[in-house]
């Protein structure tokens, strides 16, 4: 069976149905020339996406975020959820532990329900003292998976890795089966999860780079400096993620 370029591109983009996917995946095993063509499409996709990806880490010019905020009517401003400005070094709003605990519990429930329905085996997130911690497959991926080498078909996709304003490493992630994205930050030898959000749509299911706004806002609030590149990510992994905090 011969496939045209448009079909192979759609395969690369995750746009084919299960039957066609399986058929092409099987053909790739038998046909090195076909595999090479798919590899070229994949490489181009990665090159183009990768070239623009670092822009997501740049601080947004203040005039743009101010402009968008003008729409929020001042008299109603008190009821509006304030996202911290990206690039700001200010810590997140001081929520009380009780509020975090309540939110953690409801978020955890959502993650667990969608995870358990779709995936057998250990759960990816547990709650302790009102804080969410990565466990099982999520903890394993945060510990040992490199964004630069993942194929995109892993159960957990790693997005950005960066050092937070407190010096600890943070990594954004996507639990594909649960449709949940989040941010995990290394604290006392474990991955704490300050935020998770539903990652809706096929786009989010394929790309760890496209994160829901809640997660982006959490990244923006913690990011100081640049996200790690592939080699820095690898060294941080080798060092076991535990670095003394820098101020």
């Amino acid at each position: 069976m011969n496939y045209d370029d448009e079909t192979l591109m759609a395969f690369t983009d995750g746009e084919l149905d299960q039957r066609q996917r399986t058929e092409i995946a099987a053909a790739l095993e038998r046909d090195p020339a076909l595999a090479r063509r798919v590899q070229q499409h994949r490489a181009l996709r990665e090159k183009v996406a990768g070239a623009f990806a670092p822009l997501m880490e740049q601080p947004v010019p203040e005039h743009l975020s101010k402009l968008a905020r003008v729409a929020v009517q001042p008299e109603r401003g008190g009821n509006v959820v304030k996202f911290p400005a990206r690039g700001s070094r200010a810590p997140s709003p001081p929520w009380r532990a009780r509020e975090w605990g309540a939110m953690a519990a409801s978020v955890l429930l959502g993650v667990l329900i969608s995870w358990k329905v779709l995936t057998p085996g250990p759960v990816p997130v547990t709650a302790q003292n009102g804080a969410l911690r990565a466990s099982g497959p999520l903890a394993a991926a945060l510990d040992s998976q490199l964004a630069s080498t993942q194929s995109g078909s892993e159960a957990v996709l790693i997005g950005l890795t960066f050092r937070g304003t407190d010096g600890h490493y943070c990594r954004s992630f996507l639990l594909r089966a649960a449709g949940t994205a989040g941010l995990a930050c290394r604290t006392n030898g474990e991955w704490r999860i300050p935020v998770t959000a539903a990652a809706a749509g096929s786009e989010a299911m394929r790309q760890a780079a496209s994160m829901p706004p809640e997660v982006l806002a959490a990244i923006g609030a913690r990011l100081s400096g640049d996200a790690l590149d592939a080699s820095q990510e690898q060294s941080a992994l080798k060092a076991g993620w535990d670095t003394p905090a820098v101020r």
Binding site: A49, F52, A68
Partner: protein, 164 residues
């Protein structure tokens, strides 16, 4: 998810990194990208009453940015501002300071694509949208999107070569 039009500004703030990335994929440099982002945000705020509660804000915003971009190109075309001299090669001095080497190379290659192919490539390859989402933003049938995307990709692959 977004209950009232007044809250839309904050959600747009959260989308700004993606909007700037899309704008940068369409325009040749960060300065134009930020002008485009500003134009799109202003337009979205002016028309925020047209946003349906429960609809996808990202798709709506990308559609607005697409229209703003086409209008911007048209206006500049009339004034001759997009008639920039063709770059003849690899001169580090002309590379914008915001651009990494790969951003510079991909950006240059995308700049040479016809507008409709550039839009398809920006939505699917840069923004990671599904064909369905991208076709909705561009207001074209999926078949039209996929053929523009395929032609754009073939041209990009040729321009970028295997080595870069």
């Amino acid at each position: 998810m977004i209950a009232v039009a007044e809250e839309i500004g904050e959600h747009i703030v959260a989308l700004l990194p993606r909007l700037r990335r899309f704008a940068r994929a369409l325009s040749r440099n960060q300065h134009d990208a930020d002008d485009l982002t500003q134009a799109a945000v202003e337009r979205a705020l002016r028309h925020r009453d047209q946003f349906r509660a429960g609809a996808n804000l990202a798709s709506w915003m990308f559609g607005i940015m697409k229209n703003a971009w086409i209008d911007m190109r048209r206006a500049r075309g009339r004034r001759g501002e997009v008639a920039l001299p063709e770059d003849t090669g690899d001169h580090p001095v002309v590379a914008p300071i915001d651009a990494s080497a790969s951003l510079w190379a991909v950006s240059e290659a995308m700049d040479k694509l016809p507008e409709e192919q550039r839009l398809a490539v920006a939505l699917v390859l840069v923004e990671g949208m599904s064909y369905k989402e991208a076709a909705a933003v561009l207001e074209v049938p999926i078949g039209t999107l996929t053929s523009r995307l395929a032609r754009g990709r073939t041209a990009l692959a040729a321009a970028l070569g295997d080595a870069s």
